[in-house]
């Protein structure tokens, strides 16, 4: 697998969520995603960036354009050093929220992309990696 391009956005303020969305949109266009796929990826990025900001108390988003064989994809990695998630299965289930939200963010983001990976350790932080192929 080849990484064609990498961009990193720090998530420290609420405005940074907008920057993550804009960068995601830009790279999705570069990958040649359809309008629907662009919107899906941007929406998933928005959910996860907000999680990083709200629950992870800030972190980074790494955006990569990758190539695997003949296909091109966009991979986003969200990392934080926040409190971590104790029960990932519960966090992934629809309707469960630790805040005031709808409780659809993680599960929704997973349904919007092709590949979804989450790693978390209590007290150390959380990493979420999502990939969508063209």
């Amino acid at each position: 697998m080849l990484t064609r391009r990498t961009e990193t956005v720090n998530i420290a303020l609420e405005e940074d969520i907008v920057r993550v969305r804009q960068s995601t949109r830009k790279l999705a266009v570069e990958c040649g995603f359809s309008l629907v796929d662009q919107t899906k990826m941007v929406t998933a990025a928005s959910e996860l960036a907000r999680n990083t900001f709200v629950f992870g108390r800030g972190g980074t988003a790494t955006l990569q354009v990758i190539q695997d064989g003949g296909r091109t994809g966009l991979r986003l990695t969200f990392e934080d050093q926040g409190p971590g998630i104790a029960d990932i299965e519960q966090a992934m289930s629809d309707g469960y929220t630790s805040g005031q939200g709808l409780g659809l963010g993680l599960g929704g983001a997973k349904r919007l992309v092709n590949e979804f990976e989450i790693r978390s350790k209590v007290g150390e932080g959380t990493t979420v990696v999502i990939t969508r192929w063209k």
């Binding site: 629907v36 929406t43 928005s46 963010g105 919007l112």
Partner: protein, 287 residues
């Protein structure tokens, strides 16, 4: 510094004012202060000649250390106005400071010729002028920064004003076109504006048009649901219009239930529905 030295500096500048200007003008393009795309040569010449002239006057005025002193006032004003105009034109800060700093070369050249073998006198004059020009350069930077901040503050104010007008489409029908990013702060403003207007006009129907919202994530959806619920408490029905195909698909995948809300693909169909709800119809006038 002794008074005679002060006099000498000023004398050199007075005597060679036009020559200094000519040489400075010749060197400025190389120093990178003349952005031909943004600045005409005439403007640069006018600014440069004003600078040299006022610099000489300030030297004559006495204080050669503190550029905030009275005698530097006219020069500070002209530098502030130059910085402002350059900030607006989009010249970079270093190019703006370079304008002042690039005067050093022609000036030092001239000082060297005048002082001849008097190394001590030359060193002293060079030191005095270099400190002064550095201070003036920093002052330009400060002014430049200030103007930039003013420009940004102005744009922010404009943006806030742009956002979220509530318009009446028909007696009893309100519309709020949402554009751009819906963060918590803006949504709060939107919701307040809308509810306020509902109570002022006694409208029965409010259309929230999200054609201009690029992506609907769970937070935006939640804000929409809350606004609709609040409007309903006030006795108004909310329609959400402008759901594009890509937003429709995304919302379905996200798993957000917007089924309690009446949604339409376009503002036109939402208006049509609203008119019918009010018992009105739009017809072709009979020929």
């Amino acid at each position: 510094m002794a008074d005679k030295d002060k006099g000498k500096l000023e004398e050199i500048l007075r005597k060679y004012e036009s020559e200094l200007l000519e040489q400075w003008m010749k060197e400025q393009p190389a120093a990178g202060t003349l952005r031909r795309d943004l600045l005409s040569e005439d403007d640069l010449r006018r600014q440069s000649s004003e600078f040299v002239h006022l610099f000489r006057q300030a030297l004559a005025g006495g204080d050669l250390v503190d550029i905030t002193a009275e005698n530097w006032q006219p020069l500070r004003e002209i530098l502030a106005s130059i910085s402002r105009s350059r900030a607006q034109q989009g010249v970079s800060p270093s190019e703006t400071a370079q304008f002042v700093l690039s005067f050093k070369h022609p000036l030092f050249d001239r000082l060297r010729k005048e002082h001849g073998k008097d190394a001590e006198g030359l060193a002293e004059d060079v030191w005095v002028t270099t400190v002064l020009l550095d201070k003036l350069g920093l002052y330009t930077m400060e002014m430049f920064q200030q103007s930039r901040e003013q420009i940004i503050a102005g744009q922010q104010a404009e943006l806030l004003e742009l956002s979220t007008p509530v318009v009446q489409l028909w007696p009893g029908i309100l519309c709020i076109p949402l554009i751009g990013t819906l963060d918590s702060e803006r949504t709060q403003v939107v919701m307040e504006n809308l509810l306020q207007k509902i109570s002022e006009t006694g409208s029965q129907i409010a259309i929230i048009d999200i054609s201009g919202v690029p992506a609907v994530d769970t937070l935006v959806a939640q804000h929409l649901l809350k606004t609709v619920a609040a409007a309903r408490l006030m006795g108004a029905d909310c329609l959400v219009s402008g759901i594009s195909p890509q937003i429709a698909q995304t919302v379905v995948h996200l798993g957000v239930k917007l089924s309690d809300v009446t949604t339409k693909a376009s503002l036109a169909s939402a208006l049509d529905l609203a008119l019918r709800t009010l018992g009105l119809e739009v017809r072709n006038r009979q020929k």
